[in-house]
Structure formats: structure tokens, C-alpha cells
């Protein structure tokens, strides 16, 4: 299968990061697509949790919000939001958090709060939502976002959710026992933190993408690991699964247009 878009490659590479045993706290948007492709392909028993309190959900179409009725109707059970954040997330029951973001830096810290000064922002973004505590309380964090100079920046205006902070053992120094971001999946390549410095480093490059393209689209001088592999291209099953769920989703979200 060679006919696929960079976004499709990104979603499928992100889906592959998940395993059947994961209990995954799902962020909205790209993470939600990846998590459900994983569930519909190689990880049928994965537990997907959305911050609205739905646990073990199996949506047939991708939710537009984190609280669509589809999530509750297909969940094993649904809890209140305080219980979600206290018992399940803070309680350490979630193995993996899957986040997106507006901006990320080389240590996988995320900004979804403001561009510019906090008091007088150039752009006011939505804010952190569940992310600050997802980032610290889940066993590990995967992040997926398209690689661009606007998104992958040298210096964040605001740290909404801490990844590896200033790098090295910064998380440990702040008392965190969780791993933090272990993989960042983009539309051009896959990044992983260097084992020692924790700086995000290219470990896998998608088909047809050059090192120059990656360097040009990153806001800091990006490093490549000693061994960089080619990301396996999407299989026919992966691609069909993703396209089917996207088609069902588009139909469902536009289906109630008359009611609007």
C-alpha cells in the first residue's frame, strides 16, 4: 500500500504505539482517531478512557467532543468527572495518556494556553483541560501532532503540561515517578526522547520524507538518532480501518445539519 496521505501515516503510526493491554486516557482530535484505529486493528481489548468519565468505550464513529453520547452508550461504565480525575487518573490506574497540542518544545513540554504574554496574549488558546495531570499521572505519554515550525518551537511562551521540563532527570527532581512523553508521532517522522538528555530525537522517518524536510519544519536544530529506521508503510487493513471510521464520522457529524 503506497497511496496514503501524511496525516493517514501519522494516525496509523500513532495507533501502532498502543498495545492490547493499555489503559489509555484519550485526548480529542488526532489522538482519538489513533486510539480507535488501534482498537479496531491490533489492540481490540484496549481500554479507552475519555475525561468525560467514560471508561472502556468503543465508539463506532469518532466523537467531536470528549463527551459525545456515543462514548457513554458504548462504554463499559461511566463515572463522574471528579471520580475520573481522582480515583482513575490520580490513582495511577492509567498506563498511557495520548495528547495533542498547539505547540511543543524539544523536551516535549506542551503549550495549549497562550501565544504571547499570558495577561495580554496575541492568541488565546483553549487552555490545559485535563492535560496537566494526564501528563504527570499516566504511566507514559504519547503525543501526536503535525511537524511544523509553528508547532515545534524553540521556546514555549507557556508550559501548559510538563513533558521532560528542562531535560535530563527534571521529572524525577520534581517527584514524578511516571515516564512522561516516550514518543511523539508526526506526519513526517517519529521522535523519541534521548535516554539521557531527554531531547526529542528522530528515530523513524516515514516513506518519501527527507531529513531536510524534517529539519526545515522544526523550530529547533533537530537531532537524528544514530540508527534511524524507515517507518513501515500502512497496511491495507490499517488504511481501510482509518478511512472507514473517518467516513462514518463525517456522515454522522453532518447528519444532523437540519436540526441546527
Amino acid at each position: 500500500m503506497s497511496d496514503f496521505t501524511p496525516t493517514e501515516m501519522m494516525t496509523i503510526a500513532a495507533a501502532r504505539a498502543l498495545t492490547n493491554d493499555d489503559v489509555c486516557f484519550v485526548g480529542i482530535g488526532a489522538p482519538s482517531a489513533a486510539c480507535n484505529v488501534a482498537r479496531l486493528t491490533h489492540a481490540p481489548d484496549i481500554t479507552l478512557i475519555y475525561e468525560s468519565g467514560t471508561v472502556g468505550t468503543k465508539p463506532d464513529v469518532l466523537p467531536l467532543s470528549i463527551g459525545d453520547g456515543e462514548l457513554c452508550e458504548t462504554a463499559l461504565f461511566t463515572v463522574s468527572v471528579p471520580e475520573m480525575f481522582r480515583y482513575w487518573l490520580q490513582g495511577g490506574r492509567v498506563t498511557t495518556g495520548f495528547l495533542g497540542g498547539a505547540q511543543i518544545d524539544r523536551f516535549a513540554n506542551l503549550n495549549t494556553t497562550v501565544v504571547g504574554d499570558y495577561e495580554h496574549p496575541k492568541v488565546r488558546l483553549p487552555g490545559g483541560g485535563g492535560a496537566p495531570e494526564i501528563a504527570s499521572n499516566c504511566g507514559q505519554i504519547f503525543i501526536t501532532m503535525a511537524l511544523s515550525k509553528r508547532g515545534f518551537v524553540d521556546k514555549l511562551n507557556f508550559i501548559t503540561s510538563m513533558g521532560h521540563g528542562e531535560g535530563g532527570n527534571h521529572r524525577e527532581r520534581l517527584g514524578m515517578r511516571t515516564k512522561g512523553p516516550t514518543r511523539v508521532i508526526t506526519d513526517l517522522c517519529i521522535l523519541e526522547p534521548d535516554p539521557v538528555t531527554k531531547e526529542l530525537t528522530v528515530v523513524s522517518i516515514h516513506q518519501g520524507v527527507t531529513r531536510e524536510q524534517i529539519t526545515e519544519n522544526c523550530g529547533w536544530p533537530i537531532k537524528f538518532a544514530d540508527q534511524v529506521i524507515d517507518t513501515p508503510v500502512p497496511t491495507a487493513t490499517e488504511l481501510q480501518t482509518l478511512r472507514d471510521i473517518n467516513a462514518r464520522t463525517k456522515k454522522a457529524h453532518q447528519g444532523d445539519k437540519e436540526a441546527a
Binding site: G53, P121, N137, I159, G175
Partner: protein
């Protein structure tokens, strides 16, 4: 005991200008009809509390009803920005908006502390994050047993909480099902509460002994407003109008189209206009 009343009376009797007010509902059961009544009655200088401001607070902010807002995620879920919220923060239009920003975990804990009659909530939160630098209401507390330093935020105790629920009986006992969010905590932590419901029935018949029920004696006013959560949804009644959420992006992007929409759909409308949405999915 809760008073069964009209929406206009419930709002005029329980909401004062300047009040701290929470309209809750986590994606599900957002009390739109009640929010529109606040706008119609010209309530002003409100301090709004809500985890996810959503389109409803975009409308309250854009009409100038709010002096401030405490929140944890201010976007149009899956669509993008809340343009009226952004215009208020970035350009002070139609008036400056004081913001107190938290994470979801902190807000959820703070609501629970309010319901539990505690002065503050603690959580293992905000580690390495910048919000504590810009929000003086995020502080630290040291565990007296282990010495662990935890985040502390004040309990949420609104003057008024407004929610939308599925149904109530004629005594004013209220049932919630599905994604129940923080509504129970928000009602129990408030001085006064208004609950709009899809329908008032003879027998509440909670589906389980563990159902989320707010008893009549814990609620101030109950109002029947079928469809009152549109364009959010009521589980088992009607679905979320994702198409409206997508359409709102264009409506709210521009000040004029926003004001025109409010004039037509809020100022010249009433709670009875929500009923058509309830019928649609029946």
C-alpha cells in the same frame, strides 16, 4: 423543597447581578435555555464558573453579561476557538474579562470540596506547569503525615448553580444519567440551585438504587424545559448537534453575525422554542 416554577421566575428570583454562577454539564446536559434566559433578563456583572465554557459561555461573554470567568478549557470541542471568549481576552470586547484558569483535575476537586463543605481541595497536580505562576489561587499544601507537597485550590461555592437534568417528579426530585460530569457537586456546593429538566413525570423511578438523584430538599427551583440542553444533548432524548457546534464557528467569528444571532435566537425567543429540538429525535 424545590419550587416547580417557570424559567423566567426561577432566574429572576435566584440570580442577582454580580453573582458568582456556575452553569455545569460536561458536554452532556448543558443548560442552554437557562443561559439564554440570563441574557434575556439582562443579568450583568456575573462571575461565571464552568470547567468547559463551551458555546454557552461564549454567548454570555459576547453579550457582556460576565465580569469574569473561572474555567479549565475554553474551546469549541473538536472545532476550534471560542471566538467571543478570545475577543474578550485579546481585545476586551465587549468588556474586559477577568480570568481564573485551572486544570480540569483542579476544578473537579474544587467542586467536590464545595459539596463536601470544605474550604479547599488538594490534588497531585500542576507539577512543572506554568498556571501556578499566573493564578494566585493555586497554592501548595504539605501533607502532615508524609511531607508530600500537593497543590491546593479554593473550594467552589457558587451563589447559584444551574444545571439541566433528564427528569424530575412533581415533588422536585431530579434524576441525572449518562455523563454526569460535576453537576451533583456543583448543585450541592451552591447557595441556590436551578434545575431545568426534559420532563416532569409522576414517578421518578430511578433505574438503579445507585442512580444520581438530587432530592427536592437539596434543590431550589425545578423547571420543565424540553430540549433545554440543545445544541448539547440529553441522553435517551436527543443527540448532540455536532453540526450546530461546527456552524457556531462562523456565527461567532464576527461580532455582527454573533449579535444578529443573539437577537434572533435569544432576545426574540423563549424557552418554549427549545421544544422543537426535543421532538426531533423522539
Amino acid at each position: 423543597m424545590a419550587r416547580l416554577t417557570s424559567l423566567a421566575e426561577a432566574i429572576s428570583e435566584n440570580v442577582n447581578d454580580g453573582d458568582t454562577i456556575a452553569l455545569e454539564g460536561f458536554t452532556h446536559l448543558i443548560p442552554y435555555a437557562a443561559g439564554h434566559e440570563l441574557i434575556r433578563q439582562g443579568k450583568k456583572d456575573l462571575f461565571l464558573i464552568r470547567m468547559t465554557p463551551d458555546i454557552l459561555y461564549d454567548q454570555l461573554i459576547g453579550t457582556g453579561a460576565a465580569r469574569g470567568m473561572k474555567f479549565s478549557w475554553g474551546g469549541n470541542p473538536g472545532v476550534g476557538s471560542l471566538h467571543r471568549f478570545r475577543d474578550a481576552v485579546e481585545n476586551q470586547w465587549p468588556r474586559p474579562l477577568e480570568i481564573e484558569e485551572h486544570s480540569h483535575a483542579a476544578m473537579a476537586n474544587a467542586y467536590e470540596a464545595g459539596a463536601a463543605n470544605l474550604p479547599f481541595a488538594m490534588l497531585r497536580g500542576y507539577i512543572g506547569a506554568d498556571l501556578p505562576k499566573v493564578n494566585p489561587n493555586i497554592k501548595q499544601v504539605t501533607c502532615p503525615f508524609t511531607g508530600e507537597v500537593l497543590a491546593a485550590v479554593p473550594a467552589i461555592r457558587p451563589d447559584v448553580t444551574i444545571i439541566h437534568a433528564l427528569r424530575a417528579d412533581r415533588k422536585g426530585n431530579v434524576l441525572l444519567e449518562g455523563i454526569v460530569g460535576v453537576q451533583k457537586e456543583a448543585v450541592l456546593g451552591a447557595k441556590r440551585s436551578i434545575v431545568t429538566v426534559e420532563e416532569i413525570v409522576d414517578e421518578l423511578n430511578p433505574p438503579s438504587p445507585n442512580s444520581v438523584v438530587l432530592p427536592s430538599w437539596a434543590v431550589t427551583a425545578v423547571v420543565e424545559v424540553p430540549g433545554g440542553a440543545f445544541p448539547s444533548y440529553a441522553q435517551g432524548y436527543y443527540a448532540r448537534s455536532n453540526a450546530f457546534y461546527i456552524a457556531w464557528d462562523e456565527i461567532a467569528r464576527d461580532r455582527d453575525t454573533f449579535q444578529k444571532w443573539i437577537e434572533e435566537n435569544v432576545m426574540r425567543a423563549g424557552p418554549e422554542d427549545f421544544a422543537k429540538h426535543a421532538k426531533k429525535a423522539a
